[in-house]
């Protein structure tokens, strides 16, 4: 990954996506339930209880109910997807996820015609989560996608990375991965999936709508009010790593058609 820091051309970077090391991916995380420091999740996530795990499915679906992880996945087999991961804090990684397409899960759950959005919720275990006890954010953490975004073949429900079950600090046992959006949209440790007609609340958007839009597509032309989004630092380049230009939709141009006719400066 050291080579990535030297600023190869973007086309080259796309073709030679080299994953960050497992150590990098599991020791530099934002998971505010465990604290605001980048190393807090690695330090404290061990306490999180993930067995048994139950996911509530409700709202505008044909098959609502409480699902275990195995029940939710059914006969779907997780496949590997190597994606760029761009954090709203202007750093990025490359992660080899294992997951299933969210679309396949939603199809099995039976999305009703009136559904327009999918809402997600992260687990809350105050006794195991120091960040929750401190009230860093308004927990439970919630996020949402428009239905067409959720159905896009790039959108994953990931259950592992590097051929192992999802590490707790990365959102065990199951998390969302939306590679063309800032990382905070890719909600971790999911315990609820709801199909809704109205745009669901999203934690960071609710806290500060000026800084975190509902869509939060990676966009080098829309700065976060407190820092520039034009460039990013690829994790793993060391002390002398140079920033590299951030790409529209994090380089996943195939999603552009989802936003045709939208002003992405205003609806960021």
């Amino acid at each position: 990954a050291a080579g990535l820091g030297l600023g190869p051309s973007m086309a080259a970077a796309q073709e030679t996506l080299e994953p960050n090391s497992l150590e990098e991916i599991t020791s530099y995380n934002n998971f505010y339930e465990f604290g605001t420091g980048k190393q807090d999740p690695e330090r404290y996530a061990d306490e999180m209880v993930i067995e048994p795990w139950s996911i509530t499915v409700d709202g505008l679906v044909d098959n609502p109910g409480e699902y275990s992880l195995a029940e939710l996945l059914g006969d779907l087999t997780p496949e590997e997807r190597i994606y760029r991961f761009r954090c709203v804090e202007a750093w990025s990684m490359v992660v080899p996820w294992q997951g299933v397409e969210l679309a396949d899960i939603l199809t099995r759950l039976g999305v009703q015609d009136e559904a327009r959005y999918v809402a997600f919720e992260t687990v809350v275990q105050p006794e195991n989560m120091p960040g929750v006890r401190r009230g860093v954010l308004d927990f439970p953490y919630v996020e949402g996608l428009r239905l067409d975004e959720a159905m896009h073949p790039l959108t994953l429900l990931a259950t592992g990375l590097y051929d192992q079950p999802m590490p707790k600090q990365n959102g065990a046992p199951i998390r969302l991965v939306v590679p063309w959006k800032y990382g905070f949209k890719s909600i971790k440790s999911i315990v609820r999936i709801s199909l809704t007609a109205e745009e669901p609340p999203a934690t960071w958007n609710r806290l500060n709508p000026r800084e975190y839009g509902f869509y939060s597509n990676v966009n080098p032309n829309v700065d976060h009010p407190r820092w520039s989004q034009a460039t990013e630092r690829v994790i793993g380049g060391g002390l002398f790593a140079q920033r590299q230009p951030t790409q529209m939709f994090n380089g996943y141009d195939e999603v552009a058609s989802l936003y045709e006719g939208m002003d992405l400066q205003a609806q960021f």
Partner: protein, 221 residues
Amino acid sequence: MAAKAPTFAQRINKGLRRVPPWLIYVIGFAWMGWEFWRALSAIGPYAVEPINVLEREYGLRALQLLVAGLVVTPLMRWTRVSLIRFRRAIGLMAFYFVLAHFAVFVLLDLGGFFDPGYALAQVWTETIKRPYITVGMAALVLLIPLALTSNDWAMRRMRQGWKQMHRLVYVIVPLAGVHFLWLAKGFQIEPILYLVGTALLLALRVDWRGLMERKSPNKAA
């Protein structure tokens, strides 16, 4: 207790007299170098993203030293323990950590090491565009005259003016605290504690009784 306190303070002061103030520079620069070396070698907290961690490390030490500088006067007034001999070194060391913090920002974070022109232009635009950087830069700029006059020669030359000018720290430390608070995402307790601590240390300097007495006759009239 009141009779015992002075002897206790005197004993501490006597011990402190044997500690040379330059020890603060030795420890300060050794710490700064040690952290840089750890960042360079990607050790511990620097393993994954060393630039941001080093930037914060230097910034936090600067803020801690700035706040420590504010402790000296109230500590002397309340406990008679005198750290006055160390205050210049504390203040200057804070300034050097601010410079190191700024150097990491410009040379490593913004890439000035590779492209100085771009980095300097970026410092300017960021300072104008981002309030938390504006505030941090204001603190840095205001510290410069204080650092330049932190010597015996300037103190002699400036007389009363020196004392007045160095009251700028009452503005600088809160600015540094706001700079820290402003960059936090969500509700974070640490920056708030620094600001509350600063506010308390500054409040201790205000002659509240004097203020009340001066004000009340005015109100009556």
